[in-house]
């Protein structure tokens, strides 16, 4: 892939995602709503970044901007060295909270949707989607419709769809929020496995502090609206992560620090 070279370059030269003093005001009555205020972050290629913050602080807004799905009023956002004025599925894949799979398409067709938009032939599409399906552990479910899948399985399909174009950056907005706790834990673990084999830069939003520490290389903490970055925490737990690490002191201390930051900011 063309971006692999860029990614290697980015590791030394710059960042996969470079957000520089971004502010955003949603137009509306009485001067509108200020959602973001002076947000900056630099994400190294191949890193797993988690953003946490109170509800309504602008996490989703920020993610939408990184995906080219929404404008911002001030500042600069670069993804792999260039602005992202509109969605670019070859640079950025997005995975939403609701699986947002199309109920009228089978698993295969859902995963291949971004490829079909580009007019790729059926054989070529299938050649690409099949390994994705097995990567997320769903081989054999290709002909099923979404209503035949459980919530966790749908979210796996959604991840496969995000990966199929092989974008170097993957943005995930509370992807596991709708799942029960057990499924959520397994999914987090699975995501790390997939991430470790694909070398993607991931920006992951969650409300779960445990999930944040378990998944992240770095955690960014945001303040209540208007969202600012109030802390940047390095998670230096070894990889691969294991469930046992959650019981360690380091894990507890990191989680506690994030919690203190969020509490202080209120």
């Amino acid at each position: 892939m063309q971006y692999v070279a860029d990614m290697k370059g980015a590791q030394t030269a710059g960042a996969a995602i470079d957000i520089d003093r971004v502010s955003h005001v949603y137009a509306g009555p009485e001067g509108g709503v200020q959602a973001l205020s002076d947000v900056s972050m630099k994400v190294g290629a191949g890193r797993f970044i988690v953003i946490v913050g109170p509800s309504g602080c602008g996490k989703t807004s920020l993610l939408m901007m990184m995906a080219g799905l929404r404008d911002h009023t001030e500042g600069r956002i670069h993804v792999h060295g260039a602005p992202i004025p509109k969605p670019d599925p070859e640079r950025v894949g997005v995975i939403f909270q609701e699986a947002s799979l199309f109920p009228w398409l089978t698993t295969f067709d859902n995963i291949e949707f971004p490829l079909s938009l580009r007019g790729m032939s059926r054989e070529e599409r299938r050649r690409r989607s099949e390994p994705m399906l097995s990567l997320v552990g769903l081989s054999g479910f290709g002909e099923r419709y979404p209503h035949e899948l459980s919530g966790g399985m749908k979210q796996r399909v959604s991840i496969a769809r995000g990966l199929v174009q092989d974008p170097p950056v993957l943005l995930m907005d509370e992807p596991f929020a709708a799942l029960d706790e057990q499924t959520r834990m397994t999914m987090g673990h699975e995501l790390l496995r997939i991430w470790s084999t694909t070398n993607k830069t991931v920006v992951f939003i969650t409300h779960s502090l445990t999930e944040a520490v378990y998944l992240a290389d770095e955690v960014y903490v945001m303040s209540p609206r208007p969202g600012r970055m109030i802390d940047h925490i390095m998670v230096d737990l070894p990889r691969p992560r294991t469930y046992e690490m959650m019981a360690t002191d380091t894990f507890g201390r990191l989680r506690d620090r994030i919690w203190q930051q969020i509490r202080k900011s209120h």
Binding site: L69, P87, L117, P131, S150
Partner: protein
């Protein structure tokens, strides 16, 4: 207790009705003028088969044209009004109210404009069937989950692709509901119009024979209309089920007793 198979129930009801149709007048429970027995009805139908067949063809021709008008105009108007916010706010309430007006009162005007031939029936029934198609198309487009469009956009869908690959398939189930109803109304519209003022068609035959008190021939006409409507309903259902596989499948699954579908994470299948 196990629920009986709906198919068997349906056929059971049909057969019971047919048997009653034969037996009730035969046993003198109803005078034959009100309800001629089934066998007599079928006999006159057989004798006048050419006449009924010709009338049915006229009616069918009108129905098909009316359906084309109702569905075509309905979809175009519904998509336009449903897709454009300004039009939706201005026009949707107007059309919703119009839908409640019994348009039959306008039929005399249609005959004045289009004559008493097929044209007035087609126009009248077409407009009669137009409303549900238009309203459900508008509703189908209006109620699309914005998340679908956001996801499509994030994958790089152009505006045209958003329409063809998301908006149309997503609104299909709702639109189909309207098409089925619109088609049924088109049939009703044609028959009613034929019964009011006409010179041909099944509805005309029914009215004609009623004025000369020829009950068996009236009921022969009614039987033709029944067959026509039921056939339409079966075809429309089939078509709908084929077109929106995912939706009817979802509904079927909700009705059925909980089937053990795979829960949570399956064992990662090594391929």
């Amino acid at each position: 207790m196990r629920r009986p198979d709906p198919k068997i129930v349906r056929w059971g009801i049909l057969i019971a009705l047919l048997v009653a149709w034969e037996l009730v007048p035969r046993m003198g429970l109803l005078p034959e003028l009100f309800l001629p027995r089934l066998s007599k009805t079928l006999t006159v139908l057989w004798i006048d088969l050419d006449k009924y067949w010709a009338a049915l063809l006229v009616t069918l021709y009108e129905v098909v044209l009316a359906m084309v008008i109702a569905c075509g105009l309905g979809i175009v108007a519904g998509a336009t009004i449903g897709g454009i916010a300004v039009l939706r706010d201005l026009l949707l309430p107007v059309f919703s109210s119009l839908y409640a007006v019994p348009i039959v009162i306008l039929y005399p005007i249609f005959t004045a404009w289009f004559g008493i031939g097929s044209q007035s029936k087609v126009m009248f029934a077409g407009i009669y069937g137009f409303f549900p198609v238009m309203l459900s198309t508008a509703a189908g487009i209006r109620t699309i989950d914005p998340q679908f469009l956001l996801a499509a956009r994030s994958m790089g869908a152009t505006v045209t692709q958003q329409i063809t690959k998301v908006i149309i398939p997503a609104s299909l189930p709702t639109v189909f509901g309207g098409l089925r109803l619109g088609g049924a109304l088109a049939i009703i519209g044609v028959i009613v119009a034929e019964m009011l003022t006409a010179s041909a068609g099944i509805g005309y035959l029914v009215t004609l024979n009623r004025t000369i008190l020829d009950s068996p021939r009236v009921f022969a006409g009614i039987l033709c209309i029944l067959v026509l409507s039921v056939a339409y309903d079966i075809i429309a259902r089939r078509l709908e089920r084929r077109m929106v596989v995912w939706q009817s499948a979802g509904r079927r699954q909700q009705q059925a007793s909980p089937r053990p579908i795979a829960q949570g994470a399956p064992a990662p299948a090594a391929a």
